[in-house]
């Protein structure tokens, strides 16, 4: 039986937004934590550490996110763990986001002029202090606009969790579409909801970038 698209269906889609946002938030926090480590490893003085981080980034940027999600999902079974789609999606997105954030932040760390490193070590700061008090605070300023821009990409990526069966916005759209068979309306609404989440962030990122460009001119 085909159901009509009513207010209830709309509410169902709207409530799925929270899962998309929750998944994005978890992947962002996880990705930022691991990504910072990757960025630091990528700019390390030790060659082996640098190479390992480069390999990690190339592996995750050179393969489809969907494959990464599948591998986490099915790989857990191989390891004898029973991972639900929720945890698999969060873990897969975290790993993927960490590679991208690591590469973005590497650029930001390297954008801090070399003289700052030299001055800090001349003042007797060791690596942790040098990073914490001198380099990272300056790198953060450069990092904000591209990081906000990456958030848009991350929110969009969470839609792939639908394919491994996690019920977020896109999966909710599929469910409603299967019941009502009004694809244009249903996926149109889904698209609008994504747009409302992503567009403000895109605008913010562009604005921050302009402001930063003015400040450094």
């Amino acid at each position: 039986m085909i159901r009509a698209f009513s207010y209830n269906e709309f509410l169902f889609l709207l409530s799925a937004v929270q899962w998309t946002l929750a998944l994005s938030a978890i992947a962002f926090v996880g990705g930022a934590t691991v990504g910072l480590v990757i960025a630091l490893a990528r700019t390390s003085d030790i060659k082996a550490v640098r190479l390992a981080a480069t390999g990690y980034i190339q592996l995750f940027q050179g393969t489809p996110l969907l494959m990464q999600l599948f591998l986490v999902f099915f790989g857990a079974t191989v390891m004898g763990l029973d991972l639900n789609p929720w945890a698999a999606a969060a873990l897969g997105l975290t790993l993927n986001a960490s590679a991208f954030l690591g590469e973005i932040w590497r650029g930001c760390i390297q954008a801090v002029p070399r003289g700052q490193w030299e001055a800090a070590s001349a003042l007797g700061l060791r690596y942790p202090g040098l990073m914490r008090y001198v380099i990272l605070p300056q790198a953060v300023k450069v990092a904000v606009p591209p990081t906000v821009g990456f958030l848009v990409q991350l929110i969009k990526s969470t839609s792939l969790a639908a394919i491994i069966g996690f019920t977020e916005l896109t999966r909710a759209g599929q469910i409603v579409n299967n019941a009502t068979f009004q694809p244009f309306l249903v996926f149109g609404i889904v698209a609008v909801l994504y747009f409302l989440m992503c567009w403000p962030l895109s605008l913010l990122s562009a604005r921050l970038e302009r402001r930063y460009a003015l400040a450094t001119r």
Binding site: G62, T63, G80, Y194
Partner: protein, 224 residues
């Protein structure tokens, strides 16, 4: 961990996997070429078109860049038939990829076009070149050269994101993997091999782009 790996299923369906990989390559190259054409036209419209056209192009870019690729595929594959346009999964996949990459590439190429100094264009016109010649030799070629790294990494991202079109079961690499997986239940083995194939494809494309750069753009710009 007491799981025994068994790659027999993968080896047995090797032909089928290669077929899928070949379709992925075809879809990607097709979408790159068509997407590049769309992007050049849109970038031109955005930098020098009349206001309504600029507005439409901006709307296109913002909508595509702020919605997920998967939802765009669903809209094209499930949505268009309700308006009487029936598409095969492969064609729907190609259209979705062109629409998607077109928007990203437009912004990249626009940046390239804007980096061309006005004096260059004026000099070209003053030398008696026709507007089309000015566009071809003075605007678009150096513009593409400037943005070449950004453009090609966008193309590689496109190739990787093509795995998402398996959601409408176009017969590309990921779909093939899904089919083999559902027949043999050797999920992990299949997906790890397919991930390796994608990695190899990404490296091949990157080598191909480096080769194209050498052929088309490796001229000296510092002649004084």
């Amino acid at each position: 961990m007491n799981y025994t790996f068994d790659f027999k299923a993968v080896v047995d369906s090797w032909d089928y996997l290669l077929q899928g990989a070949w379709l992925t390559v075809q879809l990607s190259i097709g979408a790159m070429i068509l997407g590049l054409i769309v992007a050049i036209l849109c970038a031109l419209g955005k930098t020098s078109g009349p206001k309504p056209i600029r507005w439409v192009i901006n709307a296109y870019i913002e909508v595509v860049r702020n919605t997920p690729f998967l939802v765009q595929i669903f809209l094209i594959f499930f949505g268009l038939p309700t308006m009487g346009i029936r598409l095969s999964p492969d064609l729907a996949a190609l259209i979705a990829m062109v629409v998607n990459v077109g928007a990203y590439a437009t912004e990249i190429i626009r940046a390239g076009i804007e980096s061309i100094q006005k004096g260059q264009i004026e000099a070209g016109l003053a030398l008696g070149l026709k507007p089309l010649q000015v566009f071809r030799y003075i605007v678009i070629k150096p513009a593409l050269r400037t943005v070449y790294p950004a453009l090609t990494s966008q193309f590689i991202l496109l190739m990787l994101s093509s795995s998402v079109v398996s959601a409408i079961s176009a017969d590309e690499l990921t779909s093939v993997a899904n089919n083999i997986q559902s027949q043999t239940f050797r999920s992990f083995e299949i997906y790890i091999v397919v991930t390796g194939i994608y990695l190899a494809l990404a490296m091949m494309f990157s080598a191909l782009f480096a080769g194209i750069y050498k052929l088309a753009f490796a001229y000296d710009t510092d002649r004084r």
